[in-house]
Symmetry: C2
């Protein structure tokens, strides 16, 4: 599988045009499962991911994403939405989940809960936003690699107006904020000149400094 | 390979204790290659990654990472360092690379170069820092999945004092800033109680909203 992963990552590119075909449900499920397994700071995963298959919803998102066709030509659009409110009950819910999953006393987690609450209390809203967004980007990385392994095209997108996407998906009242998009689908070779373009990456000797 | 990827991601966890064993060079090379292939906004990849095998350097980093043992018990410590200065010649170098790789005229890339320069000019230093850090986190995600596929333990770390790590690695004069660490190595089952703990993740129905 080791060389296969690199082949998959070589194969992938950010398709600008897609064929509008839906993903098989088992394939999408595996990509979402990889995202679910991604790690985050203290395991807190301060984000929620909207899985938008509905075409009319994606059509309403389109103008807020500078009309990039992959919003509607994808089979499914993932919206990584970070939490905008951090409360004690979210931490408590997480502690309950750890307690149940690992069959440990809730009280044994008091120190860990205090650490997360300390992080929340001592950070500004701006710092919490950044912290949450970074965790979402790790999950984005997991989604991108899993999609490549499935030979599903995946286009990460930062080019959109968060306020517009928030409004379409009614994210504000859910205390969520659209941070990045990931269009999943099938490349349209005929209409995407980039589909045959060689991948450009800085060479190893420039990207890495070995010590 | 599809189920194998999920098995690898289930297998992985953030090891707190490692065995101090070096990674085989071919294995490390494949993990770095996956990182190199990770996508970034406009393909600009505004980061440099330090590959720290040298034990004494890692010992000097240790106190700036709250003495977390995996800094020195890993086989290799990756330091994802984002660029702190964005200049026209970096954009020009990227354009030259595209031009050579894809065998296209440099002038055909004028519009693309202008887009990147516009992004740089219209963003505050804070915005550019955030933008660069997010791209580094995608690469972190690629490194984490590639390591799992290789059955190499990989611990992402945000708990460190950037200034201290910058000083040890003399990053400031290279216009770099330590953004996150990734310890690569072999889990020490005997000394890490978390090695046998069940993975805790929010269930699918809570993490995802389907539309």
């Amino acid at each position: 599988m080791k060389k296969q992963l690199l082949e998959a990552l070589e194969w992938r590119y950010a398709a600008k045009r897609m064929k509008g075909k839906a993903l098989p449900e088992d394939v999408l499920k595996r990509i979402l499962e990889a995202i679910r397994l991604s790690p985050s700071s203290m395991g807190f995963a301060p984000y929620t991911i909207l899985v938008v298959r509905d075409k009319s919803t994606r059509e309403r998102i389109l103008p807020h994403a500078f009309n990039q066709p992959q919003v509607v030509e994808s089979g499914c659009l993932l919206v990584f939405a970070t939490w905008t409110s951090f409360k004690e009950d979210q931490v408590e819910q997480y502690m309950q989940q750890i307690s149940e999953t690992r069959n440990v006393e809730r009280t044994s987690l008091n120190g860990f809960a205090a650490n997360i609450l300390k992080k929340i209390k001592e950070s500004s809203p701006e710092e919490l936003r950044e912290w949450a967004e970074k965790q979402a980007y790790i999950a984005l990385g997991f989604g991108l690699t899993a999609a490549a392994v499935e030979r599903i095209d995946a286009t990460p997108m930062e080019g959109f107006i968060p306020k517009g996407v928030n409004d379409v998906l009614e994210l504000e009242k859910k205390n969520l904020h659209a941070t990045c998009l990931l269009a999943l689908g099938y490349r349209d070779d005929q209409n995407d000149f980039l589909s045959s373009a060689k991948k450009v990456r800085r060479p190893h000797t420039e990207l890495f400094i070995e010590i």
